[in-house]
Amino acid sequence: MFEQLVTFFTEPFAYGFMQYATIASLAGAIVCALLSCWLVLIGWSLMGDAVSHAVLPGVVLAYVVGMPFAIGAVVFAFIAIWMIGGISSPRIKQDAAIGIVFTTLFALGLVLISVTPSQTDLGHIVFGNVLGIGTSELVQILIIAVVVIAVLLIKRRDFTAFAFDRRYLDTLGISSKRLSTLLLALMALTTVAALQIVGVILVVAMLITPGATARLLTNRFNRMLWIAPIVAVISVIFGIYISFYMDVATGPMIVLVQGILFGCAYTASLLRIRKANTATV
């Protein structure tokens, strides 16, 4: 019985590609989870959706000219943000501008994929292919994760103040515009790490769900920064085991587990509120 249990838990990792997939997924999920704590509080969930889709043409072009994906992604993330800012006006509200820009750039990315001869299937960028991650991709994901986590932790208090009251930072002489730019650059980099795991379409889930789940479970931001990565790690572990034994797609399974955990947290918070209301009555 014990041996069967050990085999059950260790068997998936007998394969090199599963080890790579697990390490990459953990790194990508943790960095997305940390970033998501700020994104959900700032109200940038839709912006995360836009940036994650808009980087696609940048990634394809970077592939074509042989540059790291991250450079193409960051360039197109800022092109998208610049376009959204330019188009937004009293006639075209920001949500409409975001919708127009990200779908147009996403479509451009799909067109570029369709005309780009490649040895690797660029379609994997759209839907993710965590089981196909090689050494170079893994190294890239780990470097991005380390850099983004380091910057997030160093600028932790500035980003929290930015999310809470960005106007106040300007009165102190701390540029909220610079912090905003830095946060968007981190979002673009994180997207590059995560899109190799779950694909462009599902990246936004990893950029929102862990932070939103943590927010439901605590009223302290410092605790959110622990809870969100824990939620992400649990999702990766369950996602990988379920996908291995049920033979289903790994990236989407990780996102699905995140969604289920959010559902559990949501139910728990509803029950807590109901209990508090009953106690008050």
């Binding site: 009251d165 300007d170 102190l172 302290r220 959110m224």
Partner: protein, 234 residues
């Protein structure tokens, strides 16, 4: 050093929010800025604090003066010399941080890149909390506070900055009587310690209890002087 505003003009598109405004306020005095909605009070405070570009004019009296000459704009930075207490309507009261963490933001400019809290910072934060009368609320979130208590939190954040110039935008709006009295007493005390204070307010009846000077404006200056002088004119 006196605070001197000279020929200040602020424009939003076709709207001329502040027109040729000039005045001088001695160090350690409180100026109440009065006027109806849209009269340019908040724009004036935003310009003095360096949040907004003026079209032309100059604000002098800080370590570095802020000067605007048409397109030739030098980005103003307060370098921690201004404590700004904004109207707090835009604040998300559900935000998951407590009162002490909010007040500690006032110390950011005195901390390094990591914003690590030194002993001096902790002391300044404790003093600010105590002077605003919210020490016992330090662990609470904004959601658990009344309107008056919330306003005192932002006043405490301004105090923690320990800046020579303090700007307050409608500090008495939506505030209970207890908080209003406490804020007024605190501001008078701060002025007696040498802080220069600008307050944009609608609260005309109480102005005489704290203001040394009053500026009445409707985009341009209507009157400037002691509360008695201005009340007579307006």
């Amino acid at each position: 050093m006196n605070l001197k505003v000279s020929d200040l003009n602020i424009r939003y598109g076709d709207i001329h929010a502040v027109v040729d405004l000039s005045f001088e306020l001695p160090k350690g005095e409180i100026l109440a800025i009065i006027g109806s909605n849209g009269s340019g009070k908040s724009s004036l405070l935003a310009a003095v604090s360096g949040q907004m570009f003026g079209e032309s004019g100059e604000v002098a009296g800080l370590t570095g003066s802020i000067e605007w000459q048409g397109e030739d704009v030098k980005l103003p930075r307060s370098r921690g010399e201004i404590a700004y207490v904004a109207q707090s309507e835009h604040i998300d009261v559900h935000f998951p941080i407590n009162v002490r963490e909010i007040v500690s933001m006032g110390r950011f400019k005195k901390q390094g890149m990591l914003r690590l809290e030194s002993e001096a910072d902790s002391k300044a934060i404790d003093i600010a909390l105590a002077r605003a009368g919210i020490t016992d609320l330090a662990d609470r979130s904004l959601l658990a506070l009344s309107g008056g208590q919330r306003k005192r939190v932002f006043v405490a954040r301004g105090l923690a900055t320990d800046a020579p110039l303090m700007l307050l935008d409608e500090p008495f709006a939506g505030v209970d009587v207890e908080s209003e009295v406490l804020i007024i007493e605190l501001l008078v005390q701060l002025a007696s310690e040498g802080k220069t204070i600008l307050i944009a307010t609608h609260n005309l009846p109480t102005i005489k209890t704290f203001a040394d000077k009053v500026l009445a404006m409707k985009n341009r200056m209507l009157a400037f002087g002691t509360p008695e002088e201005v009340t007579e004119i307006v």
